[in-house]
Subunit: 457 residues, 2 copies
């Protein structure tokens, strides 16, 4: 028998890790709800039809497919299939599975919206917190099964949606203890405007994907690549004279209008972002919101504002991204529904909180109390005490076996329980509880009814 | 393009359904925690090695496998594989996936315990609420992707564990509004004792699986099947004279001791169950706990107490099952760790609550308030009000677009929002909020600070 193991790129989350993950998820979930987003869950299994061709060539390769013999059979050319059929008349068991595993939450959401469009009231705000699967090569911080937390608002073109997503970013990062987070904002029209104003005669998508490499290959690298496509060095210099980053303010937007020579396409971006700013007036954001014209975001479906959040000095790339899409549902046959959404990667946030040790101090604690006892009689009495404590809403464990009291304390310590309650003959007589604080070694004697207040202080 | 759809046997859970599912899950989770169970999550992807051979022949067929071309290649016989290799030199792309989807939560839990045995403090109580996948033929109440809620206590042989699981059953059903639920209890040793006492000369497992059909084929059917295996009719009559169901009480256990002629194996079961009852003294269970000697539970790994919960008159079979297993981790090479666990099927509970309409009255409500407005100016003011309300912890939506006020009320009604707050010029002047109860049509004027109390009443 081989040694039991979980698959490469996947993880088991034991109680300690679960508490930390739940700390992050609960902050994000609470903020999403406060902004009127409602929960949605879609199945892990999707039809391959739904998934294939939606994530680019690279994404297609990383899809987890559930395939039957029959399907594999169909993947070979018809001539060869015929030959195999003759060779293996009984080995090709027909199967009807045409399934894959969810690769992100955006495409399933688009599929849901189109499929249920007659039951949905627009504008529709949903949040979705579920696993996704990608057959990628596992690496530090890159997993094959991981969790995404998405919030999307679909069916409204108002920039208020973007403004509220920025407020959500602010609240989430502040509540996570990361007020130093930076939210980079750009607008796809700025990228179009660059191509247009500088007459690059170059597809916007290709320009965007080159620019997207700025973080990795720097100004020189991007210039080199653009020049290899035939763009003059002088134009490249013009590009880098324009793009840069600055706080997202009305004033800076005006500066960009000039830099773009009041290009009509750039003015559309400026108009949107100015409008967005009116909705943020007085919102006292603690995170830095930066207008970063080099922000490109690879995904093709973005059409308006785009977002990317980073935590400086964390040595971890983007922890969230998102943007406005005008035709996401078009691939499923429903046009002209605009939406905007963001997605947090909680595994990366976890990594940052872990390295910077930003967890709340009591998060390592097991919130249960442990009832300890000396023999069958005191254990039976302990089960009655447990009933009372649980009725008061206190998570309670009764040590289930007959072991020496020190073994029981040892157990409490190991599982992170802070309070042990010792039930002996005298406690049975008086009805009092002897409560031992295992961290401090102190112990007090309390009435059952006093326990809840004592634990809360 | 084909019509977008989710795969057969899977479901999308929109906001209304999510609220109901969360109602059930939150009750179960809260009770599990109160008894000191801690959360665990394992990956959806498991190595096929971990899954295969653990669920019987039928289960093996229902496993969802993620297979690469290479693996399918290996499934054919070596000779034929050689031939295919010659035929398709370039078509068999090597793959290294040997993965399957989680089929239940018990085997992954056993795998986790063995893999992490040096980091786990025993006795270990974990709860796990996750999806499982089975390639079964979809039917009413049977899905290919569904949720299980398990609680297991492993590393302790004390009957206190069983007693607490019974208390958990009671609390969960009472809190769900199903105090009429019936928990059937049996002990595997009773089944062994029947075979032993009646000298059936028949494998216990075969006897158990025949008896398991009692619900479906009745006494006559079971008798017929047992006789076909060579058991005399008189012995069958003796079996049915013994088995039956009665409340689980000390008195009834004594009656069974006599019926079993004080058979030594039966006395072990009676001893366990008597011991269990001492831990339940004074616990005032509302559900009926029934000793049902015909309860067999198919799974091979149970060795002690077994449980099955039903809701009478629901026309739905068991909603939960479980039991004591003495060697679950043995398949992964770790022997002699005894545990006991139960598993709730939340999809079936959902079905029962839905049919009997047992949802809390306000569960259909969207808890957000909607801020309505007349123009850009009042909308901008509304966003400032929204900020205050959200800071007070009130879930708040601002209608994002410029639409007639009746359209905005209409939107609120459709998404189940009960309170619309109308922001007009006069509200901007006075700072008061006009709050409209859309169910009753009433409206009141309130200070911002009064809103939270008003909404709570």
């Amino acid at each position: 028998m081989s040694k039991p193991a979980n698959p490469q790129g996947t993880r088991d989350f034991g109680p300690q890790v679960m508490r930390k993950r739940e700390f992050i998820l609960s902050i994000i979930r609470t903020v999403f709800k406060k902004y009127g987003f409602e929960p949605l869950e879609t199945p892990a299994l999707e039809l391959l039809d739904t998934l294939e061709g939606k994530y680019g060539e690279e994404g297609n390769k990383l899809l987890y497919k559930i395939r039957s013999n029959k399907e594999l059979f169909n993947e070979v050319s018809p001539e060869i299939a015929e030959e195999i059929k003759t060779l293996l008349p009984n080995r090709w068991i027909p199967g009807n599975s045409k399934l894959g595993l969810r690769y992100d939450l955006t495409i399933p959401f688009a599929r849901f919206v189109v499929q249920h469009r007659n039951d949905i009231t627009f504008p529709f705000r949903r949040y979705q917190i579920q696993q996704v699967w990608r057959g990628d090569r596992p690496a530090k911080g890159r997993f094959r099964e991981f969790t995404q937390c998405d919030a999307d608002s679909i069916g409204s073109t108002s920039l208020l949606n973007e403004a509220e997503l920025i407020q959500i970013y602010n609240e989430v990062f502040v509540n996570l203890g990361l007020p130093n987070a930076v939210l980079k904002v750009n607008h796809r029209k700025f990228l179009e405007a660059l191509v247009n104003e500088l007459q690059l005669e170059f597809p916007v998508a290709k320009f965007t994907s080159t620019l997207d490499k700025l973080d990795k290959i720097g100004v020189e690298g991007v210039t080199k690549e653009l020049m290899s496509y035939g763009i003059l060095e002088s134009k490249c210099n013009q590009i880098f004279a324009i793009i840069g980053h600055a706080a997202l303010t009305t004033q800076n937007l005006e500066t960009y209008a000039k830099a773009f020579n009041n290009n009509a396409i750039a003015l559309q971006a400026i108009d949107d972002l100015s409008h967005l700013l009116t909705f943020l007036e007085g919102s006292n954001l603690q995170i830095r919101v930066e207008l970063d014209l080099s922000l490109a975001r690879g995904l093709d479906y973005y059409t308006g504002c785009i977002f990317e959040a980073i935590v400086p000095n964390s040595e971890i790339g983007s922890v969230s991204g998102g943007g406005r899409y005008d035709d996401l549902t078009g691939v499923f046959g429903l046009n002209d529904i605009s939406g905007v959404g963001i997605s947090f990667g909680i595994d990366r946030l976890y990594e940052i909180l872990q390295v910077q040790d930003l967890w709340p101090k009591d998060l390592h604690e097991n919130k249960s109390v442990l009832l300890c006892h000396f023999d069958e009689k005191t254990q039976r009495y302990a089960t009655q005490v447990a009933r009372k404590l649980r009725n008061m809403g206190i998570a309670t464990l009764v040590y289930p076996d007959q072991k020496r009291i020190n073994k029981q304390f040892d157990f409490a310590n190991k599982i992170g329980v802070k309070y042990a309650i010792v039930i002996g003959e005298s406690e049975m007589e008086t009805g009092m509880l002897t409560v031992k604080n295992l961290n401090k070694g102190e112990q007090v004697s309390l009435e059952v009814t006093q326990l809840k207040v004592y634990l809360a202080t």
